[in-house]
């Protein structure tokens, strides 16, 4: 079989068009910049103003249209790739076809959200914001990829080592594909002859499980400590802030290296840390319910009881690896990664929450709660915390992005996750040795990390902008 080209049969028609559109776009942007500089220098000449602004307006129009053309062509590549007959498909077309479930899910999400956006609160308002929508699309692309990874992958990302496919270019056909085996390595093969495309998709699943969960735990820890620090102040606040500063001042990478050193693991340090850190969500929820429902003992007992039961079960499984039912457990390597990420993120969350609390506790509704004799925890968790949710939500999005990069860094140093894990950092590390000759194995996961983090940042921007409106 022939190796695949990038664009397949539609390439000869569309490629020149795309080239032209990109060239026009680049030219018009250059003209725009040039005009702007000329206008800045030409303030002294009053007559030139009108002519200059005309030219600028024209350049702006050309930029807009050429950008539109480029985007339209990219969409055509993807759509045509799906509808074209199998033999006419290029690499892009085939990838686009593999991602079909993701496209459908994305389209359904957007169609439903836009249709009901007026009834969806802040989430609905996001669809009035172009930047937020782009960010949301990028994030949801990877979320759905992680969800449907089993259908999308062409080969087993870890187990399928096919001879002769080592360090092959994208679109290389398998030498002798067996029955029911996909005939190509769409984005080439890596140094161990595994399929780069499948590893990228499977990597999304690893990253998107660990990053949001770790961020959530970091928030639990940061909130449980930050709200009382800001509300109660005094020695408690001074001590906690000092510890937070201490952790923040410690070099992150060094901390990670320490945590994965076999001697340290043998001492049980990561395990102890997990035992402490994982306790926070359970404690948080128990306090949350108790402060709210202490006036209604029956409701309180149900809520607290359920939390202790479920939380305790998960806690036993995750932190002690001692689930009596044998259902919940977490591999040692992942646990270390998880603990380190939570540990370095929670001080920052702590400081943000503490700052927000300092601001909100001066409000009259907090004073009103105090004057009716509410307990400190009720005021902290039910009067203050819900009103800090806007900035916290934005930070949560941003922080998932940082955590993703942190996971990449950890994987790159070969820390924590097993060496054959398909996560993006590990893949980049595995491919970096031969980067000069075979760029694809490390390049693909690098682009994946970049697009996910970019999406999260844009989403955070959009949320921030929308939450400030009205």
């Amino acid at each position: 079989m022939e190796p695949l080209t990038w664009t397949g049969a539609i390439g000869p028609y569309l490629n020149p068009a795309l080239g032209l559109a990109v060239a026009v776009l680049a030219l018009s942007i250059l003209t725009h910049a040039g005009l702007a500089i000329a206008r800045l220098g030409g303030v002294a000449r009053p007559g030139a103003g009108a002519a200059g602004s005309h030219a600028a307006a024209a350049a702006g129009r050309v930029t807009r249209w050429s950008l539109f053309a480029v985007l339209a062509l990219i969409v055509i590549y993807l759509v045509a790739g799906i509808v074209a007959p199998v033999e006419a498909k290029g690499i892009i077309g085939r990838i686009s076809t593999r991602f079909l479930p993701v496209w459908i899910a994305l389209a359904a999400t957007f169609a439903l959200s836009i249709a009901f956006k007026r009834r969806l609160g802040l989430y609905g308002n996001l669809f009035d914001n172009r930047v937020g929508m782009i960010g949301f699309a990028l994030v949801m692309f990877w979320v759905y990829s992680a969800l449907f990874a089993d259908v999308i992958v062409t080969h087993d990302p870890v187990g399928d080592v096919i001879s002769g496919m080592k360090n092959k270019a994208p679109g290389t056909p398998l030498r002798s594909p067996g029955e029911g085996v996909y005939g190509y390595y769409l984005l080439g093969g890596d140094a161990l002859a595994r399929d780069v495309f499948s590893r990228m998709v499977a990597g999304a699943r690893v990253v998107l499980t660990i990053a949001p969960a770790a961020t959530l735990f970091a928030f639990m820890v940061g909130i449980t400590l930050g709200v009382p620090a800001g509300y109660l102040g005094g020695r408690f606040d001074t001590a906690l802030s000092f510890v937070a500063n201490l952790v923040l001042a410690f070099p992150v990478i060094l901390l990670f290296f320490l945590l994965v050193t076999p001697e340290i693991i043998a001492m049980g340090v990561p395990k102890y840390m997990a035992e402490v850190l994982f306790l926070f969500p359970v404690v948080f929820l128990v306090i949350l319910w108790n402060s709210r429902f202490h006036t209604r003992p029956m409701t309180r007992n149900i809520h607290v009881g359920l939390t202790v039961l479920i939380g305790g079960w998960l806690y036993l499984g995750l932190a002690w690896d001692a689930d009596p039912l044998g259902l919940v457990s977490i591999p040692g390597g992942v646990l270390i990664v998880f603990v380190s990420v939570v540990f370095v993120n929670s001080p920052t969350v702590f400081r943000i929450v503490r700052g927000l609390t300092l601001d909100i506790r001066t409000r009259d509704y907090v004073a009103a709660a105090q004057t009716r004799g509410e307990g400190a925890w009720y005021i902290m968790l039910w009067e203050i915390l819900p009103n800090a949710r806007g900035p916290l939500l934005v930070d949560f999005c941003l922080r998932i992005g940082y955590t993703t990069i942190l996971l990449g860094t950890l994987g790159f140093f070969g820390l924590g996750l097993p060496p054959d894990s398909p996560d993006w950092g590990t893949s980049i590390n595995a491919g970096r040795g031969l980067l000069q000759f075979f760029p694809f194995p490390p390049l693909v996961p690098a682009v994946a990390i970049m697009s996910l983090v970019l999406g999260l940042n844009l989403l955070a921007d959009g949320l921030r902008e929308e939450s400030l409106k009205d």
Partner: protein
Amino acid sequence: MAKWQYDGPVLEIDRLSISFFTRLREIPAVMDFSVTVQPGEAVGLVGESGCGKSTVALGVMQDLGVNGRIVGGTIRFKGRDLGAMSETELRGLRGSEIAMIYQEPMASLNPAMRVGRQLMEVPMIHEGLSAKAAYDRALAMVEDVKLPDPKRILNSYPHQLSGGQQQRIVIAMALMSKPSLLILDEPTTALDVTVEAAVVALVKELGRKYGTSMLFISHNLGLVLETCDRICVMYSGEAVERGSIGDVFDEMRHPYTQALFRSIPLPGADKNARPLVAIPGNFPLPHERPPGCNFGPRCDYFEAGRCDAQDVRMTPVHGNDRHETRCLKFREIDWSAPPAPPARSETAEPGPVVLKMEQLRKYYEVAASKIFGGGAKRVVKANETLSFEAREGETLAIVGESGCGKSTFAKVLMGLETATGGTILLDGQEIQDIPIQKRDTRTVSDIQMVFQNPFDTLNPAMSVGRQIMRALEVFGVGGTEAARRQRMLELLDLVKLPREFAGRMPRQLSGGQKQRVGIARAFAGGARIVVADEPVSALDVSVQAAVADLLLEIQRENRTTLLFIAHDLSIVRYLADRVMVMYLGHVVEMGTTDQVFSPPYHPYTEALLSAVPIADTHVQKQRIVLEGDVPSAIDPPPGCPFQTRCRWKAEVPGALCETQVPPIRTVQGGHQIKCHLSEDWLARMEPVIRIAAE
């Protein structure tokens, strides 16, 4: 830029319409608005919040932001159309020909620049003056706004000045290049009453000195009466009445203006005999304005089929000077008819003493260094020997400016702080040392509080019903969820809110409605003493009356003791039975309302009374302007707390005022004054406010 000469009006706004464009719809903020400002004239623009008065000011400055646009009409400044000017021309005009003074002085000054440099910028940019000449001009200007030690002021940063001083700097900056038009947008709302009086006097004097025309935007009719020659009343984006101060105040020809005057407490109003008349209904939202007359749905004279059938135009009132009204029926209405006699309510007899304070003191220790706790400690004396008693069913007003210790007093009473000395007796039980966590539910629910800021008093993340039910839960009212829900709905009835509001979020409510929910929450546990901390000062005039009357009505029914903290003496005179005036932690005067509002006064009370603007042309006031600011409580003056600003200090022999705290003297009938002035001197004091014979 050279200033051009022009003989006509300084500002002519002709049929101006301004709209804001949101993603849902176009919101008309100002419609068909016209006003003319002649040279040297001061025009007041009055209306409630949301009526579009600030939008007019921004329209004049051509600074409406990305969403705002002028959709009709013209704004002419000295005969030139501002809408047709280019950005460059406007830049030359702003700050040099048209200057603006905003509400928040701190937000108008650059915190990173010395005051001197900020002032010097104005003539240096607009007139190309040298730095030396600009500095001289700045120095002269700072002297003009009567700031002490101008050289030091020029060399300081904004945060080193007090609020009143900052506003004076802002005024100086606005007048630096001798503008033809000065726009003042609520310039004194953020200031204390006595400081406000001084700033207003200054603006008036400087306006006359430089011949500046002024557009004075305010919600306070009394302030406009004191400062302006002409007035324009706005309602819901339209001018409804326009004319000279005398015509509009004494011969108003629009029902809204009339209703506005009837809803503010003027001297003579009385909570039992002549209660205020609140304007029924709510201010319409910009996109929900009724057809025809905007005020129609709330108007007493509304005639269906006529008032709502056509657009109403401004019509001149004959016989007056440029007096116009936007009312179809103004010729038919009998304007001299008194308001319908309201249901007279019985004067409530105060019952037994429920709350008694004796020699209450509250000091704070401020450590010099926070981290190590060492260093010299300084003592802030927030409350100094407070003694009073409050009876059941009585309204006791506590009056004073910011920093006088009235909030600290409330905190100690509520149990958020414990007293340093003295006693608080609730039903004969000492509670001054029991913090709120240790008080029993009964005591906590007995003393409740209504807060000042309606936008802050409710938790924005919780529905109205939930918040009231939470209070019921905490106070142990009602055994079941259903019982509490029923009680919550009854409380909503009590504060005259529809029951559907239970499911609403606070942001869906107007300021007055939020304040009502706050009152319902305070009365959830059957409170017997309610501390109301300026409950109406942040509300619009027409809503103030309704909320104040609601408080009084609930008080009358439940025989609640109301401790009403306020700085607005007009409302205090209206609703208080007894008044307590505080200054720098001391009670300087206490007595029944009549005793405090008539001589003899404590010198501070006298100044306070003179400072409060009264919207009545028949009232003649003695003008007493207090110099300087309230001293800091960390470093109070020795002797009498008021001696630094007192104008009668010279009347006391020797250095008594500087060395000794005056004793509390009972003048007559329980009227207490803390002053060194001799008794017969006090007896000779003249009243500050006189009502001229009609």
